[in-house]
Structure formats: structure tokens, C-alpha cells
Symmetry: C2
DNA sequence: CCTGTAATATTATATTATAATACTTATTAT
DNA sequence: ATAATAAGTATTATAATATAATATTACAGG
């Protein structure tokens, strides 16, 4: 019975194809699980029943978005998922401009350097120019991290309207990622305010042990942050003082250079 | 009328959810178009009718996989598409092992270095460690190229059963990408055979002007290629002779090192 | 300002996804 | 080895959901 609920959306009712959403829900299960999944597990992870899990997994498999091990009968993400990364990045002016600058900066200063964007309460690393070995996932494009405890997130929120930043912080799942993660609302907001004054965000072991993360915002012509340039360095090779002295100017300069190019052509 | 055609699939009939496929078909249109698309254009590109284009675009938009410019009412790829890159890579043992080796090699030899995998008749670059400026799309993970005229494709096909290689070549759309692209079936197969003898593939301006591309296969324990390590260098800074002397050993060593680690743990 | 085109919203209809069930294949314990 | 249990696979009748026709609204070009 499709009863007309109180908070109904007058339009989307019929313009939203539920089956599409369910298909993506299955893929989403693989992102969060991080391991191959059997049908039963897919059903459990997605909230779909056994039959639905079967139908959607099968469909995704036939399309090439899921691979299947015939021995274990488990599914895993298929190579074809890589298409979407290209689809997004290849027609993204920000990415196009940023890649050149990031490669240049990474080469000149012999450092890892990343670009990240905000999505809901998280950041997604879109461009990664790795320079030294690091934990594997820290090198993977598309990786998400909470915005509230990352330098990139802080740098972006610092250059959004304060009420937007507060909303994001409030909506965040603020579980600590390390012993040092600052999770209290006001402390997090203070860090964001400080990033605004300084022009860059810095996180000391906020999301990863030993990591000092520094990030500066890429701005549009209204001064609103679109993304952040981020560089991680590690204790004990680096001190916080050194990071502020050497890395902060570097991320700010790179971010500013990207902002500048961005405004040049279109707006 | 769902008439039971001659070559019917007894099973998939009901286990395949068409709406899922249509949703992906819309995203696919953005991959190939490379630009924002209006509803009419989406309909044209996908073969969906006006209403279907509307429903699927709207659904994808609500889910965050498409963004929409309210001014122009055109859709473009959404940031959320980056999730899939993470989903694929983060649970890929090959990628995990390869990233460390590629970063190391790229740093030591101060070079761009990539990993690519075969999908149908194309290769997809899965890991890219860029080191110098290049055309933007050449730095984007998820980029596809025809296998038949790329060093990576040649290297992979060289270490697949000959009949499989021939099938891929036959199925390929062999339109030339440069003035030098070799497209004749037998010539392409000869290049593959030579790559097998040499242990690496090399392409001289086969897919990009000035580019000399060198690649070596990552093998499983049966000697079958899973992927290829690829390095591009450019004329006139590099000659073919130099590339063979310096780059070929480098890609072979890196690929062999990955193959070795791969067999170490699991199989 | 008018005209043609594209986008958006609405609705009745039947196609298509659904979920119950039966069957098959693996895994595990005895 | 064999049985028992669990998971995956295939089939089908049913109704819910996607569909596509149409009406309305917004935009762009002359």
C-alpha cells in the first residue's frame, strides 16, 4: 500500500526508481565491509531479503561491477568500478587544474600531496600524488575520512559559512580515531575558527598515529572552499613547529595557485 | 510482450533487474560524453526515452551520483562516484602490493609509473603514480585505452593463451590513435608475440604522439598475466634504444617483484 | 514580446520486480 | 565416510512498481 505519508515528496514519488538505489546499496556494502561477501552477508549488510540480494548481486555481476569467485561463490568489487573514477575526474575542472599543480609541488618538495573534497560530513580524497610508502588505504583515491578530525576537513569548513560548519560538526559521527582525536563540539569548532584565521588547518595525530596533517583550502571567487590541498608528514622526523614553518606555506601556496587558475577561465 | 526468444538465458530472465542496468547506462553516457548533459542528450546517448531519462537521471541525482546545475538544468558526474574507486582498490590484493612497489620505483627513478588491468578489449589504469606534468587524462585513474595499441595491453596479452590474445585483437575496435598506430591483425599479433619473447611490451607513438611506452606483465603462479606495470617516456628526450636499455629492465623488475609478493601469501 | 524547445509534473496501465518455495551444492561435524 | 546443516541457485504466481503518455511549466532565441 503506497500510502501518502505526511512528509511526502510530491514529485519524487514516481520519479525515483527504487531498484537503482538497491543496486547501489549492494555496492555500498562492499565499500564498508572491505572484504568479499556471500549472498547471505549481502542480504544482512543491505537489509535486502535473500531473493533481492540474489537478484541485485546477479545483475551487478552480469554487468561487470561485481566479480564472483566460483569456488567460494562470494562476490567482490569488479574492475569496471574504476570507470566511475574516470567519469568524475575527467570532466572536473578543479581536478584538471589541481593535478598539474600537485604533481609540480610534489616533485619539487619531494612530498606526498593530496586533494580532497567535502561530501556530507566526510572528505573524499580525489587526487593523490603519493611520494613515500604509507598505509595502503592512505594512497587510494576515493578514500573517505571524517571531516571534523582531518586537516582537509577543517580547512574546508573554515571557509564555509559558520552555520554550515556547525551543522556538519553536529551531524558528524565524532568517534575518536586516535588517542588524540578532539571530539567535543566546541573544541572542534575552535579548531575550525583557528584554521580560518591562520589560512590553513593542521591536525596532530587527529586521525592517524604519528601523523601531522596540514591542509589549505581551494576557494571560489566568493571565498567559499571547494576543496583542500593536504600534505601529511610524520613524527618524529617532523615536529609540529617544522610542519607549520615549512608545510603550511607550501599547501597554502599550492591551494592559492589552484584557486587562481580556477577563477581565471570561468567562475 | 516478453516473447521467449531463441537464444534465451533460462535463468537470468528473472534474476536480472533491468532498472539497475539502465541506471548504469546513464552514468556510462557521462563517461563517454565527457561533458555535462541535459535530459534530451541523456535520452539520445542512452537510447532511453524522454520519461526514462528523466526518471533515472533524477534517481541518480537524488542518490548523489549525479550533480545538477540548477541554472542550465544539466547533469554532471557527482563526487560520490569516487566511492567506487575506493571500493575496488581497497580490497584488491594486487593493488595493495603494487602501490608500494610503484611508489618506490617511481621515487627511485624519478619517473611516472602506472599499473593497468585488462577489461574486454581495453586496459584500465588502476594505479597511477605521476611524476611529471602530462596530459590531464593521462593522470586519471580509471582511464581506458585500447589494449591492442598500448604497451600495457601488449604486455598482458603476451602472457595470456595465444587464442585469447587473438580473440581480443579480433574483437578490438582497431581505429588508429596516431599516425603510427599499427592496426593490422597480423602485425598486432606479431607485436604481442615479440613482447612474450622479450618479456616486455613497447609501443612507439602507438597511442600518443612522441610517447614511448614500456610495460611488463605481473604474472600469477601459472604464468598468466594479471596486470602490467607501465612507464611512459617521451621523444626527443628519450630514444627507443635508451628506453629499451633503461626502462624495460625497470618495468620488468618492478613487475616481477609484484608477481613474487603476490604468490608469497595466497596464490 | 512572441515562438519553439526542453524540462518537469501527473496519472492510468501493465510490465517487471518481487518473494515464496523448491532444489542443488557446499561445508562441517560426527 | 557419511550425515546434517547451511548457503547458494532456480522457478513461478502475484502484485507492486516502473513505465510512457500527456499536460504543464520554464527557458532560450529571434
Amino acid at each position: 500500500m503506497p500510502e501518502t505519508a505526511a512528509g511526502e515528496r510530491p514529485k519524487a514519488e514516481t520519479l525515483f526508481v527504487n531498484s537503482v538505489e538497491k543496486g547501489f546499496r549492494v555496492l555500498e556494502a562492499f565499500r564498508t565491509s572491505g572484504r568479499p561477501l556471500g549472498l547471505k552477508e549481502i542480504a544482512a549488510a543491505t537489509g535486502l531479503d535473500k531473493s533481492a540480494a540474489q537478484r541485485f548481486s546477479n545483475t551487478l555481476h552480469e554487468l561487470g561491477y561485481l566479480a564472483k569467485d566460483p569456488r567460494t561463490r562470494r562476490y567482490r568489487p569488479g574492475i569496471r568500478l574504476m570507470d566511475f573514477s574516470f567519469t568524475y575526474l575527467s570532466q572536473n575542472r578543479l581536478a584538471e587544474i589541481a593535478v598539474a599543480r600537485l604533481i609540480e609541488a610534489g616533485k619539487r618538495y619531494q612530498t606526498t600531496i593530496n586533494l580532497c573534497e567535502l561530501i556530507d560530513t566526510e572528505i573524499i580524497y580525489t587526487i593523490r600524488i603519493p611520494h613515500e610508502r604509507a598505509s595502503f588505504v592512505a594512497t587510494v583515491p576515493g578514500r573517505r575520512m571524517p571531516a571534523f578530525c582531518t586537516a582537509g576537513g577543517t580547512a574546508i569548513l573554515a571557509f564555509r559559512p559558520p552555520e554550515e560548519a556547525a551543522q556538519v560538526v553536529d551531524a558528524s559521527d565524532r568517534r575518536p580515531l586516535t588517542d588524540h582525536t578532539i571530539v567535543e563540539r566546541d573544541a572542534v569548532l575552535a579548531r575550525i575558527a583557528r584554521a580560518r584565521r591562520q589560512g590553513y588547518g593542521i591536525g596532530i595525530e587527529q586521525s592517524l598515529p604519528r601523523e601531522i596533517s596540514v591542509a589549505a583550502p581551494v576557494l571560489d571567487n566568493n571565498g567559499r572552499a571547494l576543496a583542500a590541498v593536504q600534505i601529511p608528514v610524520y613524527k618524529p622526523q617532523w615536529s609540529v613547529r617544522e610542519a607549520r614553518a615549512k608545510i603550511a606555506p607550501l599547501v597554502m601556496e599550492t591551494a592559492r595557485s589552484i584557486s587562481g587558475s580556477l577563477m581565471g577561465s570561468d567562475g
